[in-house]
Symmetry: C2
Subunit: 369 residues, 2 copies
């Protein structure tokens, strides 16, 4: 029988995620599977919690990876907190803000939104005005909008939410590991991310963190969390305490990979990692400028790890992406929603953010447009 | 910095899962991560669907792995089908039947149950009587009850449900790959399993399959599925059709592992795999009998892959399990619920079901009791 896995070649992943994975992380996944209650595995779980707290700059006890991809992280945060008709404010300037709206609405929340043009950031004064009009249980925003490449003013919004009773919920799927994020300093109560972006781990886990205030809100629920798989009140009994109560079988080998990915980031040093992202972003922007490719987002709001660029006039969107993949073994991303056909999304996430990758892409693009 | 992954030793996993993983499957996980829309990756996704259909003996078009562990499979099946007050019948003779009850209740179903003594199977006549009393939307049962080692009469119950309008939902987490299961012949409408049992793949994915009748039931919903992450109406657009619409980033490397695990089973031949499970089960039971260890379940209802045995008088439950793990590098499982402290659970799942493992365990147990 033909085995399709033999045909897998290494691709330089420069799209919106997954990103390139360091060989040490791939090798970690291939380590022998331990039992999910094995003391050695529990030590690894405990170490992952500490690694995460360090990287998130938080003392939140409830800081763990959830057994699903980044979107499972989003689902976890909302489903544990929302009960019918809870007022929720969602700030939207791209696909992932819209996804939050969909998730929260399905769970029965009373969802208000403020929408901003795609490619521009959330305007803090509009949030301020809205917060003075109505009390919310949750105020939610995406830190790094992967669909546009815009960085939202997360600390500034946090300072506003702090003066209300609301919980501040932040999507950090694409930001974590690429730009600074400080949960406790920025008043973030509810946090989720994914492994396949700047952590440079394969997709499959969603780091989350809940403040004491958010944990209290779960405890005050009148109804059970309507999702057994993602119910944190039970999951926490497996991740904490002397007796580790079985909930579901943890994705053991994925957790090895996350441990190794976080290990590499902490070993390199968080600041160095952020600098590497920024330097390679600037190298890319400079190189793109030289071949006449323009950025979608104003320089002050740009994310280093997700670069949205206008497709040059005359270039064939799908054709160029396909040629990059086939002939140059480079993947870049297409535009989504209103930006489909108008932009490409170039990722410089985690292990992808290296000068040789930037140069390789620039050379390839130059030959194709 | 110390790296905890360096301390991982190979353990012979003879508990209730995860099971031993073939090196070819571990190596598959360490292959380069491809993009989730890469044509080569989509080919692997398509191949996994075909492998699954072959192993499940079904033509169900909606046959895919869900991005979570086995319990996410359970959640997926119920959340896509249940709307408020839908009548559901759940047959319970162990932990996983109880879990189904909890999942369905949280989703607002009107749940009836029939309970049977743990360690004994579901009694078909009692199901028949119940089905004549009331109409159900779903009738649910666990094929292989991992908490007891009992095989439930899934084909016989299927024949009864066929004469009603109900959907027949079967948990095959522990059975798939160890004993025969035939979706279409047995009238199974809704199926879920896990990867870390007899498929001998690390935990992290949940194979599911829905019949046309079950898909129609999703389409007839009056409300949206109250779980964005597991909404099959959207997930299917990524797994099927010419345009693969992005939903969430698939757990790429876990899917490599599942492909390889299914590849190995189909290469060995399904019947051979089942025979290997049965032969090693009989070898274990025979060996246990010689050292005075008795089985919990009557021989006619026993699962080959999950052997519940009475803890011999005078033996220290946790002490023996701990010594097995530390001194012999063998993991076995404890009892759950009413069977805690009374039984051990010995798994012979997938790659674990080999005579050398059986013999190694028997020798070790003999030295410890």
């Amino acid at each position: 029988m033909e085995n399709l896995l033999n045909g897998i070649e290494e691709i330089t992943l420069m799209g919106p995620g997954p990103s390139c994975v360091n060989k040490a992380v791939l090798d970690a996944m291939a380590k022998s599977t331990l039992g999910h209650l094995d003391p050695k595995f529990i030590n690894i779980m405990d170490a992952i919690k500490e690694q995460m707290k360090t990287l998130l700059h938080t003392n939140n006890k409830l800081t763990i990876p959830v057994s699903g991809t980044g979107s499972a992280g989003m689902e976890t945060c909302f489903v544990n907190l929302i009960e019918k008709d809870d007022p929720v404010l969602i700030l939207i300037n791209g696909v992932f803000g819209m996804r939050m709206q969909d998730v929260a609405t399905r769970l029965g929340a009373d969802v208000d939104t403020i929408e901003f043009e795609w490619g521009t950031p959330v305007v803090v004064d509009e949030v301020k005005a809205k917060l003075s009009e109505k009390k919310y249980k949750i105020v939610a925003v995406v830190h790094a909008e992967t669909s546009t490449g815009v960085k939202n003013p997360v600390p500034e919004i946090g300072a506003l939410v702090k003066d209300t009773d609301a919980l501040y919920l932040v999507d950090a799927v694409t930001s974590l590991g690429g730009i600074p994020i400080r949960l406790d300093d920025w008043n973030i109560d509810v946090f989720y991310s994914g492994t396949q972006k700047c952590l440079s781990c394969p997709p499959g886990l969603a780091p989350i963190s809940f403040s004491e205030k958010a944990v209290e809100a779960i405890k005050k629920r009148k109804t059970k969390v309507p999702n057994w798989y993602l119910d944190l009140t039970m999951i926490i009994n497996y991740w904490e305490g002397a007796t580790r109560a079985y909930h579901h079988t943890a994705p053991i080998n994925m957790l090895y990979a996350l441990y190794q990915a976080l290990y590499l980031i902490l070993e390199e040093g968080e600041e160095n990692v952020h600098k590497r992202h920024m330097n390679n972003h600037l190298r890319l922007v400079n190189g793109l400028d030289k071949i006449g490719i323009k950025m979608l987002v104003d320089s002050q709001y740009r994310l280093p790890m997700l670069n949205s660029v206008y497709i040059p006039q005359g270039a064939d969107d799908a054709g160029v992406r396909s040629a990059l993949l086939k002939d140059h073994k480079i993947e870049i991303g297409a535009g989504l929603g209103p930006l489909a056909g108008k932009i490409w999304r170039i990722g410089l996430m985690g292990h992808t953010a290296r000068s040789e990758n930037v140069d390789k892409l620039l050379t390839a693009l130059k030959s194709l447009i």
